[in-house]
C-alpha cells in the first residue's frame, strides 16, 4: 500500500506554517497516516523555519533521522507546525508567523512551544504529530489543548536534524489524542542513530498495558504548592485517586532542588542558545545578509531585524551568563543545581516507580495575557525538572477547570518511558470506560 495523501485542511487555528497538499507515503507501520512535524525538525525539500524570519525560505537538503524513520514507516508528512520562535516560549505567540489558537477555546493560547503540533492534533487535522521538549514544550501544549504528549528520556530519540536550541535539554517526542497513538509513534522514532552521540541504543518496542497493580506513585509536595491553581491541583489529585483505585499506591516524595530548578534551567538554556544561534548569520541559509556592509555591522543589523524580541533577549541573557566574571556565579552554579535535582529524583525513585503531579500550574492563558518575560518563565516550573534530570515524562488529559483542559504529568526513571506510558494508559482507559 503506497500512494499520495491529499491534505488541504481548514487551518482555523494557524497550526501550520507549511502544509503539503500532496504527501506521498509508502507501506509500513504508519502507512498512509498523516503526521505533522514541528518546524524545527529538518525535512528534505520542505521549508523549515523554526518559526523565525531568519530561516524563512530555508529548505533543508536532508531529513532529520526521525523524519527518515517516519517516511520508512509509511507516514505521510503533511506539514510543518507553528511554534514559538526557536522553541523559546510557552504560548506559541513568539512565532514570526503569528500565534496559534487553542482549538478548545480560540481566545486562548495552545501552550508552547510545540503549540502548532498540539493544535493540529486537538483540532483533528492530523492524528499524530512530532514536537520537541526543551523545558516542557511538548507537555505544556498537550496539557493546554487536551491531548497526550511524551517527552522521552534524554538520549532515547535521535536529535540528528533537529535545529538546536539547548542541546543538553531537548528531545523530540510524540503527540497524539490517545496514549496508544503516542506509544505507536514513539516505537517508530526511538531508534539508535550513531549521528547523535548523546544517544544510547535503547529502542522503544512497547504496547501499552493498563495493569498498574502495585505501582508506587510518588507525590511531590512541591508540585502542589505555591503558584499552582488549587483547582488544577484538585483535578490532578482526583486523577491520582483513580490510579489508586486501579491498585496503585501513593507515597510522599520530595524534590527540594525544585527551588533552584527554574533559574538553573533558564541559565543553561539561554547559555546554550547563545552559542547555538550564532550560526544564523544570513550567509549559508536564510534571508541574505547585506555583503556590502562590514561583518559585525551586517550581522548585527540582520539579527536585529530577523530575530524576534524573545530570541534576542535569550541570546543576550546567555551571553551574559557565560561572560567573564559572571560564568562562575550563573552557569557553574546552574550546573551544580542541575546535578542536585538529578540526585533528588534518583532518591525519590527509590521509594516510587513514577512521580505524578500537574503538568502546568494553571489552565491555558488568554492570548496576549502574559507580556512580562519573567512571569512567562515561571509557568514552566513544573515541566523543567524532567529536562534537567533527563527523565521521561508524559502529560495526559485528566479533566477540566473552567472548561479548559488540565494535564496529569507522570515522570519516570531514566529509560523507563514504557512505565510512564503504561500509567498514562491505565488512567486513560479507566476514564474512558
Amino acid at each position: 500500500m503506497a500512494g499520495i495523501l491529499e491534505f488541504s485542511p481548514e487551518d482555523r487555528d494557524n497550526a501550520f506554517i507549511t502544509t503539503c497538499s500532496t504527501a506521498p507515503f509508502t507501506d509500513g507501520a504508519l502507512a498512509g497516516t498523516a503526521v505533522a512535524v514541528k518546524d524545527n525538525i529538518s525535512t528534505a525539500g520542505i521549508q523549515t523555519t523554526c518559526g523565525s524570519k531568519i530561516l524563512e525560505g530555508y529548505v533543508p537538503p536532508y531529513d532529520a533521522y526521525v523524519v527518515e524513520l517516519l517516511r520508512q514507516a509509511g507516514a505521510a508528512i503533511v506539514g510543518k507546525t507553528n511554534m514559538d520562535e526557536f522553541g523559546m516560549g510557552t504560548t506559541t505567540e513568539t512565532s514570526a508567523f503569528g500565534p496559534t489558537k487553542n482549538p478548545v477555546d480560540p481566545e486562548r493560547v495552545p501552550g508552547g512551544s510545540s503549540g502548532g503540533s498540539a493544535a493540529a492534533v486537538a483540532a483533528g487535522l492530523v492524528p499524530m504529530a512530532l514536537g520537541t521538549d526543551t523545558g516542557g514544550s511538548i507537555r505544556c501544549p498537550a496539557a493546554f489543548c487536551g491531548i497526550v504528549g511524551l517527552k522521552p528520556t534524554y538520549g532515547r530519540v535521535s536529535r540528528y536534524g533537529l535545529i538546536a536550541y539547548a542541546n543538553s535539554l531537548e528531545q523530540i517526542g510524540p503527540m497524539a489524542r490517545t496514549v496508544e497513538d503516542v506509544s505507536r509513534l514513539m516505537s517508530v522514532i526511538a531508534r539508535y542513530d550513531p549521528r547523535d552521540s548523546t544517544m544510547l541504543d535503547r529502542p522503544y518496542d512497547h504496547r501499552p498495558s493498563a495493569d498498574i497493580k502495585g505501582l508506587r506513585i510518588g507525590i511531590p509536595e512541591e508540585y502542589f504548592g505555591e503558584g499552582v491553581d488549587p483547582r488544577v491541583g484538585e483535578t490532578v489529585r482526583d486523577a491520582i485517586g483513580a490510579l489508586e483505585g486501579l491498585g496503585a499506591e501513593t507515597v510522599p516524595v520530595s524534590i527540594p532542588g525544585m527551588r533552584h530548578a527554574l533559574a538553573a534551567y533558564y541559565v543553561i538554556c539561554t547559555s546554550e542558545a547563545s552559542s547555538n544561534l550564532a550560526r544564523f548569520d544570513g550567509v549559508r541559509y536564510g534571508p541574505a545578509v547585506d555583503i556590502r556592509k562590514s561583518w559585525h555591522e551586517a550581522y548585527q543589523d540582520l539579527r536585529q531585524e530577523m530575530f524576534g524580541t524573545e530570541v534576542r533577549r535569550r541570546i543576550m541573557l546567555g551571553t551574559f551568563a557565560l561572560s567573564a566574571g559572571y560564568a562562575g556565579r550563573y552557569y557553574a552554579k546552574a550546573q551544580v543545581a542541575r546535578r542536585n535535582i538529578r540526585e533528588d529524583f534518583k532518591r525519590a525513585f527509590c521509594d516510587a516507580d513514577v512521580i505524578a503531579g500537574p503538568t502546568m500550574p494553571t489552565v491555558a492563558f488568554r492570548l496576549g495575557e502574559k507580556t512580562d518575560p519573567l512571569s512567562m518563565y515561571l509557568s514552566d516550573i513544573l515541566t523543567v525538572p524532567a529536562n534537567l534530570a533527563g527523565i521521561p515524562s508524559i502529560s495526559v488529559p485528566c479533566g477540566k477547570v473552567d472548561g479548559l483542559p488540565v494535564g496529569l504529568q507522570i515522570m519516570g526513571r531514566q529509560f523507563e518511558d514504557e512505565r510512564v506510558v503504561d500509567a498514562a494508559f491505565a488512567y486513560e482507559q479507566e476514564v474512558r470506560a
Partner: protein
Amino acid sequence: MITESDIEHIAELADIGISKDEVPEFTTQFNAILDYFEVLDTVEGESAPDAGIVNVFRDDEPRPGLSQEEALANAGSTENGFIKAPRVM
C-alpha cells in the same frame, strides 16, 4: 544591577543589534530576571565532573556529504561555487 550601558555592551558581544528605544525595557527586564537568578547563590555543593561518563568517538573516516550544489542551495549570495560573506576586515 545591570545598567543601560551594560545592555548595550552585552548586545555588542552577542552581535545582536539593539535600538536606542529598546534599551530601557531590556534593562528593566534583565534586572528582574537576574534578581530571580539570585536564588542560585543558595545552591549547595561544588561542581565536580560526573563519574562513569565516557565520550563517544568515532573513527575519522570519509563519508558522503552534501554536493556542492546542495550546500550552496540556501546561500543568499554565491560566486563561482563559493559562498559570499561580508568583509571581516
